[in-house]
């Protein structure tokens, strides 16, 4: 299998879907002539022209609303937010229109739209531009929320998102665009189903559920723990809503303990939701309280040394795994 970068995998997904279906179009700030703020949409304008690759003014509420209207009348827009931090000015469009129209029209009108863009902390972009947006959007019934960790999942899930008839919030990793990983050849039209967890690393001693940027922190921590004789089983939910806990429950029944690691704040959100479900669905199998390693409960500091402390670290993951394993 060939290797692609995360951004290339996303780009390929959009190329393939725009090629397959001429109702698909991309709209957002700097997606066309600038080739994308993070070069995800590089080459799309040259291939599909200004009719299907549309540069917008800095007006998220406006172009999110235009996209929703286009979806309501039968097109399949991809709306790129330069970052998810900027989606908050379009919040009302997303939660009041995109998420509600299908229900409020008694199923008459579908909104097949994808909102995508980089999510989470990058490096020293400070508190207003470091949001991990999953908790805001996973809260809303009517939205799918996807947060892929690997290039392969990014491609396969973005293709499924574009083909979905429901509005999808697609959270990319701002620091993951350069990550390389295996992706099936161009000839393989791989669709990864929305709402399916993936076993990322088999293990026997402790289950770790993680996604997004900390996915890589966890895999590194798992190697260190393996050297000490603790084999972690790592599961990536990939889709945060709808959430698939079957694989997690199966794993916890085997390991009897679980640590959930995520970048978003600890108060609520998918991390807390996973803990809530696992304690009910695997109660009789738990040998220790479920633990979470999260982004710390503070606005992101600008200082790099502090930012590194706020994001989940290998050390915190290792400590949590050892605590639930009752080892020193």
């Amino acid at each position: 299998m060939r290797e692609l970068r995360y951004r290339e995998a996303l780009r390929e997904a959009m190329f393939e879907e725009m090629e397959r279906d001429d109702r698909v179009f991309l709209m957002g700030e700097e997606v066309g002539h600038y080739q994308g703020a993070y070069k995800v949409s590089e080459g799309l304008l040259d291939k599909y022209g200004e009719r299907r690759v549309i540069d917008t003014p800095i007006a998220e509420a406006g172009f999110a609303g235009v996209g929703i209207g286009a979806a309501m009348v039968g097109l399949r827009p991809i709306i790129e937010f330069m970052t998810w931090n900027f989606s908050f000015v379009a919040f009302d469009q997303i939660i009041s229109n995109a998420a509600k129209v299908h229900q409020m029209s008694a199923g008459e009108i579908q909104v097949p739209i994808v909102f995508r863009g980089p999510n989470g902390a990058a490096k020293q972009v400070a508190s207003q531009h470091s949001h991990s947006a999953a908790p805001f959007y996973t809260h809303i019934p009517g939205l799918y929320v996807i947060q892929p960790s690997t290039p392969r999942d990014a491609k396969g899930l973005l293709k499924s998102a574009i083909r979905s008839n429901n509005p999808v919030v697609f959270l990319e990793g701002e620091t993951l665009y350069g990550v390389q990983g295996e992706v099936p050849d161009e000839s393989v039209d791989e669709l990864i189903p929305i709402g399916e967890s993936r076993l990322a690393r088999p293990g026997t001693d402790c289950t770790i559920v993680t996604w997004g940027r900390p996915y890589y922190t966890v895999l590194a921590a798992a190697e260190k723990l393996a050297a000490e004789g603790i084999e972690c089983e790592v599961i990536d939910p990939r889709t945060l809503r709808p959430l698939d806990t079957a694989l997690m429950v199966e794993s916890v029944k085997k390991t009897n303990r679980c640590v959930v690691v995520h970048e978003h704040w600890p108060y609520g959100g998918p991390g807390a939701e996973i803990v809530d479900r696992l304690q009910r669905e695997a109660f009789d199998y738990l040998d220790a309280p479920l633990e979470r390693v999260t982004g710390l409960d503070v606005p992101m500091p600008y200082a790099l040394n502090l930012e590194d402390k706020v994001l989940p670290t290998e050390e915190r993951v290792i400590d949590a795994v050892k605590r639930v394993s009752y080892s020193k």
């Binding site: 009897n256 199998y285 738990l286 040998d287 009752y326």
Partner: protein, 425 residues
């Protein structure tokens, strides 16, 4: 500075305790570990020892009061100290905390010359010096067992009593590895594979300590000797069948053990010298026949008493045994339901034990150990015929029951068992 002393929780399951007797009076000097009072709990009469040094300034509850743990019972401080504030504090909260102060229950220790409630078999005579220390050195752990949900499920599946498993997690939480290492089989395998595990250390429960103390005293103080008879059990077994056929319509039935209780009770009437207690300078010949029946429970054993077994029908004995044994297993027996028997019966027949010797339950004078039914050839009128046999062994206190007396009882018992109609004489 003076302080209020609350009633300590003297056993893990103690929900209330009766303050049987104060052993200090107001104005007495009190040192750490001094005996303050005797408290009757669900399990036993326990020693309430002081954690403090000073003078017993005030006794707040009368003897006989039944109280919940932590209810103020005394004030200890320096001689002459002003305790009016503390008394006011007690008055404020005291009225609702004291659940019962029926004076009727007070003179338990006076009326009966033995400590009242005993968990296991053996109420010790008051004259026996009691040496156990439930005091400063052995803090009695209170409350529930901490364990993970997984451990609770495994304990259910493997029938493990978590109260005997030592937890290695935070706050002593029992976690999976503790249950795994508790498993006797896996311990054995671990040893084979070369892993050397240290002994699993479990704090003895108050019931366990009481059993240990009383039975040790019994064996050390009482000159035991043993008499075994082998009896034809077929007639009693047939009698049981006939009775159960009669009782079937009423939905009741009797066990062989119920009939043995009845037979022993009748035999005690015929040989009353065995129904006796050595009380130091006196011998008490009991005028009632109260049979203690040993019942295995989770942490040890209990001996509910069938009162006047000689005068009760077998079906009534059966009902009482079933009811009392059930409550013994649930630890719901009242102290008076398991004390002051005059004779004990212990049956290990259900485990296939052919015969055994039991330890006397003082101050009773004897205990009858019942073995299993054996189907075996016996010689009858010079012919070998199929037989159903059972062995009974009586342990006797030689201080009151001499060999000939004991043998006389066993002969009477054998005659009754082999010819149950004799019970009617």
């Amino acid at each position: 500075m003076a302080k209020i002393i609350g009633l300590p929780k003297l056993s893990p399951t103690m929900e209330e305790g009766t303050l049987v007797a104060w052993t200090k009076k107001e104005g007495d000097e009190v040192d750490v570990d001094d005996l303050l009072a005797e408290v009757e709990t669900d399990k036993a009469t326990m020693e309430f020892r002081s954690f403090d040094r000073g003078v017993l300034l005030k006794i707040l509850v009368p003897e006989g009061a039944t109280l919940e743990p932590d209810v103020p019972v005394a004030i200890i401080g320096k001689a002459g100290e002003d305790i009016s504030d503390l008394l006011a504090q007690v008055a404020e909260t005291g009225s609702e905390a004291v659940t019962e102060t029926e004076t009727g229950t007070a003179p338990v220790s006076a009326a009966v010359p033995v400590p009242a409630a005993v968990p296991a078999s053996v109420p010790a005579p008051a004259s026996v010096p009691v040496s156990a220390s439930v005091g400063a050195s052995v803090p009695v752990s209170a409350g529930r067992i901490l364990s993970s949900p997984l451990v609770r499920r495994l304990a259910r599946e493997r029938s493990i009593d978590l109260s005997v498993v030592q937890g290695s997690g935070p706050q002593g939480r029992i976690v999976k590895r503790d249950v795994d290492s508790y498993d006797a089989l896996s311990v054995g395998f671990a040893a084979v594979s070369g892993e050397r595990l240290p002994p699993r250390v479990v704090k003895a429960s108050s019931m366990r300590r009481t059993i240990a103390r009383r039975l040790t005293e019994s064996m050390q103080l009482i000159p035991h000797y043993y008499l075994t008879v082998d009896v034809d059990i077929a007639p009693l077994s047939d009698a049981r069948k006939a009775m159960n056929a009669e009782l079937e319509a009423a939905g009741r039935k009797v066990s062989l053990n119920d009939l043995i209780i009845k037979a022993a009770a009748v035999a005690l009437r015929r040989v009353p010298e065995v129904n006796a207690s050595w009380m130091g300078k006196e011998i008490h010949y009991h005028q009632v026949v109260d049979i203690s029946v040993a019942v295995a429970v989770d942490e040890g054993l209990m001996t509910p008493v069938i009162r006047d077994a000689d005068r009760k029908g077998v079906a009534q004995i059966a009902d009482e045994v079933r009811e009392l044994a059930g409550r013994a297993r649930d630890k719901k027996l009242q102290p008076e339901e398991m004390t002051n028997g005059t004779f004990s019966i212990s049956n290990l027949g259900m485990f296939g034990i052919e015969e055994f010797t039991a330890v006397i339950n003082p101050p009773e004078g004897a205990i009858l150990a019942v073995g299993t039914i054996r189907n075996e050839p016996v010689v009858e009128d010079s012919a070998i015929v199929p037989g159903r046999r059972m062995r009974f062994t009586m342990s006797c206190d030689h201080r009151i029951i001499d060999g000939a007396t004991g043998a006389k009882f066993m002969a009477a018992f054998k005659r009754i068992v082999e010819s149950p109609l004799n019970m009617l004489i």
